[in-house]
């Protein structure tokens, strides 16, 4: 089973290479903890699609707000790819 949490962290580490992603709070908003803007979230969506064939429709972007919400939203999708 895919470690969705680590997959998301790995993508964020590539998108925001100046940030420390080693101690992220799972329930706190990613934007509160990291210098991420809306374009960065588009990059996260893009990388999910490119690396893991996981599609995130635009209306679901808010579900990527925290690490915990990423895991709960993305896990079923990873289970089917």
């Amino acid at each position: 089973m895919a470690d969705v949490r680590q997959i998301v962290i790995d993508i964020i580490a590539d998108i925001a290479p100046d940030e420390d992603v080693s101690n992220l709070d799972d329930v706190k908003s990613l934007r509160e903890q990291l210098d991420l803007d809306s374009m960065d979230f588009l990059d996260i969506v893009m990388e999910l699609r490119k690396r893991h064939k996981v599609e995130v429709p635009q209306e679901d972007y808010p579900k990527l707000a925290t690490l915990a919400s990423c895991v709960s939203y993305l896990s079923p999708k990873f289970a089917t790819v």
């Binding site: 925001a16 290479p17 100046d18 210098d35 588009l42 990059d43 893009m46 699609r49 490119k50």
Partner: protein, 412 residues
């Protein structure tokens, strides 16, 4: 002339395949140290090319480098280095009166090729096309990235002018200062062309891509055995100011820009026109109020192509026929063709001549093509000529754009 109408160079920031600052670059030119090496080019394999190894993160975060472009990265490095060199107190500079003028050969090929490559690698999934592609490829991008990096709120232009870009960027900076549009100009040219396979493939298709087992010998302007262009990247940006402002802050002054000209061949897409090149050089000399024999050094555009070198040699011979004291050199033997950066970079390589009295040699011309023979050509070994007061820098490009820029040694 009033000091407010005289424009001077007070800072130089550069990166070339053989040096990341003026001191190292000049030394490499005097020592005939090449920056051209073999590099792997996508689809094509091993090719000769000039790549720069400046620290991309010296003035830029990793995230913004990732979001931006290589062209922006080169521009940001050069602009910051120029500001440091000019010893400007950046915090106190009125950013609304700073203009950024970056000459380029082309822009966007690197980014577009990469998107298409990635799409091909991923089953032609067009939804993988990056949302960054538009801001990366708009034509003002390299200059715009400089304004973002340095919080400059004055105007910024990227000047598409093929391989005349470096001179054209400087000329635009001069004109904007003379118009009073800005008080300080960051001006010059940049290129990241060697990062895109398309330019290699296109020059190969033209039969004009340099090849040599020893890459340091591949770029051979004016040599009988030249076989094309060694494609390179690079950049050189200048801080330009009115002389009155430079004096007020006690700035070190490298040179005064006293003449320039840009014209068009109106004859062919790629083949040059020596008659127009002569007209361009003479127009710049006239604007400077000089005669041809006042020019001490002419830096040729000299790319290492069959036709281009013959045409320009004919033009320089004709333009300087009446001068016995004008020395002629070229720079692309050392660094290859830095495209949009060529004009500003090659000029920078000659500016130290005002202090050391040396004309750096053109490199790799070991068997001079008789059709390229020019009076007082300096090749393979530097020449000490003593006092140097005026340098004319040629830069020409496709679609028949010609530019000539004249700088004068500054004396109080």
């Amino acid at each position: 002339m009033n000091d407010t109408q005289r424009i001077v160079m007070t800072g130089i920031g550069l990166t070339a395949p053989n040096g990341n600052n003026l001191t190292d670059f000049r030394k490499a030119l005097l020592d005939c140290k090449s920056g051209v090496k073999h590099h792997e080019i996508r689809y094509m394999g091993k090719q000769v090319a000039g790549m720069c190894d400046f620290d991309e993160y010296k003035y830029q975060s990793k995230k913004l480098r990732r979001r931006g472009t290589r062209a922006g990265s080169v521009s940001i490095y050069c602009a910051n280095e120029a500001i440091q060199d000019a010893k400007l107190n950046w915090e106190t500079v009125d950013k609304s009166m700073v203009g950024v003028y970056v000459g380029i050969t082309e822009h966007g090929n690197v980014e577009t090729e990469e998107e298409i490559f990635q799409m091909h690698q991923n089953g032609l999934d067009w939804k993988l096309w990056s949302p960054h592609h538009n801001p990366r490829t708009v034509a003002n991008s390299p200059a715009g990235e400089v304004t973002l990096n340095l919080n400059i709120t004055g105007p910024h232009y990227t000047l598409g002018s093929a391989c005349a870009g470096g001179n054209v960027g400087i000329i635009q900076g001069v004109q904007q200062l003379l118009l009073g549009e800005v008080d300080l100009a960051l001006a010059g040219g940049i290129s990241e062309s060697s990062q895109t396979f398309g330019i290699f493939a296109a020059f190969a298709a033209q039969g004009a891509l340099a090849q040599n087992e020893d890459p340091s010998k591949a770029s051979r302007p004016l040599d009988k055995n030249r076989n094309g262009i060694a494609i390179s990247e690079g950049g050189c940006m200048y801080v330009l100011e009115r002389l009155s402002d430079a004096k007020k802050r006690g700035a070190k002054i490298y040179a005064e820009i006293v003449g320039y000209a840009i014209n068009s061949d109106a004859t062919d897409f790629v083949n040059p026109n020596s008659e127009r090149q002569v007209q361009c050089m003479h127009k710049a000399i006239k604007r400077a109020g000089l005669s041809v024999s006042d020019i001490d050094i002419v830096n040729m555009h000299a790319t290492g192509t069959g036709t281009g070198d013959v045409n320009e040699s004919e033009a320089v011979r004709s333009a300087f026929e009446s001068s016995n004291k004008t020395f002629v050199n070229f720079t692309k033997g050392h660094i290859g063709h830095c495209m949009g950066a060529a004009g500003s970079l090659e000029l920078a390589g000659n500016i130290p001549s005002f202090n050391d009295g040396l004309v750096h040699p053109g490199m790799n011309c070991t068997d001079l093509d008789p059709q390229c023979a020019i009076k007082n050509l300096v090749i393979n070994e530097a020449k000490n000529v003593g006092n140097i007061n005026y340098i004319l820098n040629n830069s020409f490009g496709m679609l028949g754009i010609n530019s000539a820029l004249i700088v004068k040694k500054y004396t109080v």
